[in-house]
Symmetry: none
Subunit: 218 residues, 4 copies
Amino acid sequence: MSDPSTLPALDPSRRKGELTAERILDAAETLFADRGYAGTTLRDVATRVGLRIPSLYNHFPSKDALYAAVLARGIGPVLAILGEFGVEDAQRRDPGSVIARVMALLQRHPKLPRLVLHETLAGGQRLTPILRDWIAPVFGRAGEMVAASPGSGRWTPEQVPLLVLAMYHMVVGYFASAALLADLNGIDLLSPPVFAQQTELLREIVTSLFPAETPSTT
Amino acid sequence: MSDPSTLPALDPSRRKGELTAERILDAAETLFADRGYAGTTLRDVATRVGLRIPSLYNHFPSKDALYAAVLARGIGPVLAILGEFGVEDAQRRDPGSVIARVMALLQRHPKLPRLVLHETLAGGQRLTPILRDWIAPVFGRAGEMVAASPGSGRWTPEQVPLLVLAMYHMVVGYFASAALLADLNGIDLLSPPVFAQQTELLREIVTSLFPAETPSTT
Amino acid sequence: MSDPSTLPALDPSRRKGELTAERILDAAETLFADRGYAGTTLRDVATRVGLRIPSLYNHFPSKDALYAAVLARGIGPVLAILGEFGVEDAQRRDPGSVIARVMALLQRHPKLPRLVLHETLAGGQRLTPILRDWIAPVFGRAGEMVAASPGSGRWTPEQVPLLVLAMYHMVVGYFASAALLADLNGIDLLSPPVFAQQTELLREIVTSLFPAETPSTT
Amino acid sequence: MSDPSTLPALDPSRRKGELTAERILDAAETLFADRGYAGTTLRDVATRVGLRIPSLYNHFPSKDALYAAVLARGIGPVLAILGEFGVEDAQRRDPGSVIARVMALLQRHPKLPRLVLHETLAGGQRLTPILRDWIAPVFGRAGEMVAASPGSGRWTPEQVPLLVLAMYHMVVGYFASAALLADLNGIDLLSPPVFAQQTELLREIVTSLFPAETPSTT
DNA sequence: GATGAATGAGGATTCATTCAT
DNA sequence: AATGAATGAATCCTCATTCAT
C-alpha cells in the first residue's frame, strides 16, 4: 500500500501527507476491528500513529469520517475482486474453489471481517448505506452462483439465501474468533498451516453441500 | 426472563427489589447485545429501566459488574442445558437433532449470541475467565460429540475443532445478522417461519456433513 | 433574588439545588453581559460559582440553554413590568416619567441592556425567537405610547418607530458604556448621583421632544 | 474600501500583496463587527478571503494584530474627518448639521459603530489605548462644540458630557440595531430612504435640544 | 431503594500558531 | 506569498462513580 518505489516521483510534500493518512487508516483499521467504533478512541489512533490528536483532523474531518474511510478502503477492494468471479465461476463445476479464493482474499485483509461484523452487530446503523450498496449485491450474486451450481438441486429456492448466509458466517466468523482463540488456547487461526486447514475444510464442506457428481447418474 | 406471573406472592418489597435488578439486567442485556460494552452507557440503561443512574448502583456495584451479571445470566442457563446433552446425544444416530435443539434453545435467548460475539470480537479481554471456564468446555464436549458421531469418519482429528467452530459460527452468526437483515431487507430472521427454515437448513447441512447412513454399506 | 428568609421552608435538598442554579445564572449573567456568548466559557462560569464544569450540567443541559435561561430570567421580569405601564401612562401628560421609570427599573437590572446589546450586535441569530416574542411587542407598545403622547403632534407616523428606537438606544447605550467609561475616565455611570443626573437628563430630553404644553394653544 | 480601479498601475506583485492584506481586513472587519473578537475565527476570515489560515500570518502577525489593524483602519479616517469640523462648526448656528454629517460619514463606514460597540461592551480591555487616544478627544471636542452651541444655555456644564454620550448612543445604536431589525422586521435601516429619514429625525431631535431661536426672543 | 448534586477522567473537536516547503 | 502538516491549549460535553439525603 505504501510502496514509494513504484510510484512516479510525486510532489514530496503531498506524498508525505498521503502516507500519513494511510498510516492513520492502518492504525484506525486495526483499532476499529478490535474494539469497534465506540471502543476506539482518537487518542488510541493518534498514539498508534505517533501523532497528536489534532493532527488527525488534518487528514480526516471527524471520527465518523475516519471510520467511513477505513470501511471504504477495506471493503472496496475486496468487493471489487469478489465482483470479478461469480460470472465465470457460476459455470464451473467446483463451487468449493470459490470459497477457497474468498478465503485467500480475506487472508490478505484479515481485519475486514471483524470490521464488518462490528457493523453487523450494531445493526449497521452507522453505515447502512455502504452495506446496502456494497454487501447486498454480493449476496445477490452469491445466491445466483449457488443457484447455478451443479449440486444445487438439493436446495429449494427459499433455502438459497440462508445457505449463502450460513457460508458467509462460517467464513467471517472464523476471522472474528481468531483473536479470542489465540488468547484462549494459543492457537493462531491465521497462521498459514491452520489457515490452510480451514480453507481445505471449507472446501470439503461446500463440496458436501453441492455434491458435484450427483447429476452424473441422471 | 422476568416472568412475574409464575412467581408465588413474595414479600412485595423484596420482590419489587428483585424485579428491579431483573429489569436492569433485561435492559442492559438488550443494550450490551446491540451496542457492545463500550457503546452502552449507564444512562441508556437507566433510561430504559425508568430509573436514574445512581439507582443502578443499588443493584450492581459497577458497569463491569452489571456486564458480567448480564453475561452470567445469559450464558449460565444456556450452558447448563447444553451440558445436558452431549453425553447421551453423542450416541444417537442423529447429530442434526443436536443443532436443532441448540437453535431452539437460542431462540429463547436470542440476545446471547450477539453478546458473546461482541466479546469475541473484543478478544474476550474483559471477561476471558468466564469464556474460558464456560465456553471452552462446551467446545470440548462438542468436539467429543462430533468425534463420536456416526458420520465422523470423513473428518480427521485435526479437522474436528475447526468443524465445530464452523458450525458454531453458522449458528451464532445467524443471530448476529438478524438485526442487520431486518434493517436492510425487511426480513425478520427471528420470525418463526424463517427461523424454522433456518433450523431445517442447519439440520440438512449437518446431515450432509455427517452422512449417518453411508457407512452402513461399507 | 436568593432570599431564603422570605421563602417558606422548602425541601432543603431541592432548595440547595435551586440556589445553585440561581448562583450559576448570576455568574453566567455577569459573564455573558461582559463578554458575550462566544467570549464566555463554561470554565469561567464554573470558577465564578465555585464548581467544576460538569456540575453545571446538573442544572443546565448546555451552554446554549444556560444562555437562554439567563436571557429569560433577565428579560422576563423587566418586560413584565414594562408591560404594566403603557396602558395607563399613554394617557398621562408626562412621557418623561415613563423613561425615568424605565431607568429606575434597569438600575436594578444593569446587566440586561448589555446582554441584549450583545444579542443585537450578533443579529439576534441565537435567540431571535425570544427577541421576536418579547422585544417586538414592547417596541410596538412604546410606539403606541409615543403616538398617544400629548406632544406627539410634532412627529409623523413614520418617525415614531425611529424615535422609539433612538430613545431606546439612549437608554441601553448608557448601560453599555458604563464599563468603558469607568475604565477610561474613572467615572462610574452607575453610581447613584451620576445615574440620577442621567435620568434627569433623559427626562428633559423627552420633555423637549414632546413639549406637553404646546397643544394648549391649539 | 478596496477600490482597485482608482489605483494607478502598480508593480503587480506588490499591488496584489497589498490587495490581499486589504481583502483580509475587509473580511475581518465584517466578521469582527458581526461577531465580536471572540466570536470570530481565523478560519472564518480565511474562508471569506479564499485563503488558508496560515496565509493570514503572511500579512498580520496575530489575530490580535489583525483586530487592531481593522480597528485602526476603521477608526482612523472617521476620526480624522471628525476632527476637521468642530472648530468651525462650533461657531455655526446649526448643531443639527453636525450630526447629519456624522451620519453621512458613518453611512460609508457602517461596520465601524458595531466594531466600536463590541469593544465598548467588552470594557475596551483589548484596545483601551486606541480608544483612549482616539475616542476621548473626540468626546472632548464634542463637548466643547455642544457648550459653544447657541442653544446650549438649557444645559448645565455637568449635563454636557451626558448629552454628548446620549447623542452618541442614538447614532451608534442605530447602526448596531440595523442587522437585528433587518432580520426581525425586514426593515433595512441602512437603505437610503430609511437612512435619510433617520438623519432627518436626528437633526430634528438635536434642534429640539438646542433651540437655536431661543436667544433671539430674549 | 431512589435520587439530586458533585466530580475526576476523558470524549471529540476547534483554535491560534508555527514551520518546512 | 501560500499552504499542508503538526500541535499545545482550550472548547463543550459525557461518563462512571460517589455521597448525602
